[in-house]
Amino acid sequence: MSTAVRARDLGKRFGRRWALSDCNLEVPAGRVVGLVGPNGAGKSTLLNLAVGVLTPTTGSVEVLGSRPGAGPEQLARVGFVAQDSPTYGALSVEDHLRLGARLNPGWDESLAQARIARIGLDLHQRAGRLSGGQRAQLALTLAVAKRPELLLLDEPVASLDPLARREFMQELMEAVAEHELSVVLSSHLVSDLERACDHLIVLGESRVQVAGDIDDLLATHHRLTGPRRDPADLPAGQQVISASHTDRQTTLLVRTESPVHDPSWTVSSLDLEDLVLTYLRNASKQASAPTLEVLR
């Protein structure tokens, strides 16, 4: 299967601060990828590197097999909606469509018209007077009607109310079903991504904490609770992600490819949010650890 995004030791520094470092990724084509992490974790930096708006400080990134923004052909294959769904406030919906048609060689006018009609936008309305949800739908329409192979969306639903969120995601998923798009969308909320995505990248403290197909991640992570014991005596192949103990009880979050048979454990599955939060907590612990050592 071909690769939508491949990053090798990718890093980006702004002044003295690394916004992204040691990023190694291999995202298969045909997936809807959720890029999740707290604000400032490097999500926008990674997306901007993938579009070619930013250039890497270290390493490299390939999108659909080529360097981002390498030429007109490459630009036509990738659709991008930046944070807050930017549109031109003084231009009408119709102007936006005309602009899209002029700027994109593969523009699909009938698709654009059909989507605008379905969403119920007035062609003569200025974009500045649209609601947040309508503006997001307009930006999505422009990005989808250029018929890209890969669509990158930076926090597309962050500023939308729950109804507009759901409507946006419905439109996006329909586009995926119809046109076999690969999508990468970022959010700081797992709940926005849970239903829509089949692949997840968790960014924390400027690094990839965990990445993979969501079904695999859920199938290989378990919560074990049982009488207190030392996590060090677990069978090989069970990687402890987090451990907490009371006087009598031990709770572990482990990653393992094989089923857990030890009857002294009560094994339960994790939801995606628990999984993501555990990795993010580890990330922030590791990031603050060196400072603590200095203090000691």
Partner: protein, 131 residues
């Protein structure tokens, strides 16, 4: 449309597994019968705002299990039933379970303890079967 799918975001069960379970459940209860058409991938996607791959994956798994067949360009159809043959056995097993439950309550166990006991017994006997 014969059935509609629902997703429980709190269940900790993956969406694709939930769709598989809902189809199997509907088959067991006789809600879905041979020849019925499952909702199309696009229908499910636009109703639930979920990933199309999730629906396809669920349908593929049901196809592997021999319960449905995909006809290219038409849709996915039920080809087997899951009820009937165990129904009679279920009835007498249920009666046995009810007697056991009555005994447990008489012994002073509350609902939570009964559930915990039941679940841990199911689990440990499953482990014994594997070992």
């Amino acid at each position: 449309m014969v059935i509609e799918f629902h997703l429980d975001g709190q269940s900790g069960i993956s969406p694709y597994q939930q769709i598989v379970t809902q189809v199997r459940h509907a088959l067991r209860l006789g809600l879905l019968r041979e020849g019925d058409q499952l909702p199309t991938v696009k229908d499910v996607v636009s109703r639930l705002a979920i990933n199309p791959n999730t629906v396809s994956k669920a349908y593929r798994e049901l196809e592997h299990a021999g319960l449905v067949t995909a006809r290219a360009g038409v849709g996915t159809f039920v080809t087997a039933t899951m009820s009937d043959d165990t129904l009679a056995a279920q009835r007498s097993l249920r009666a046995g379970l009810e007697r056991w439950l009555a005994k447990a309550r008489r012994s002073g166990l509350d609902e939570e303890t009964i559930e915990a006991l039941f679940q841990s017994t199911v689990r440990s006997s499953a482990v014994q079967d594997i070992a």
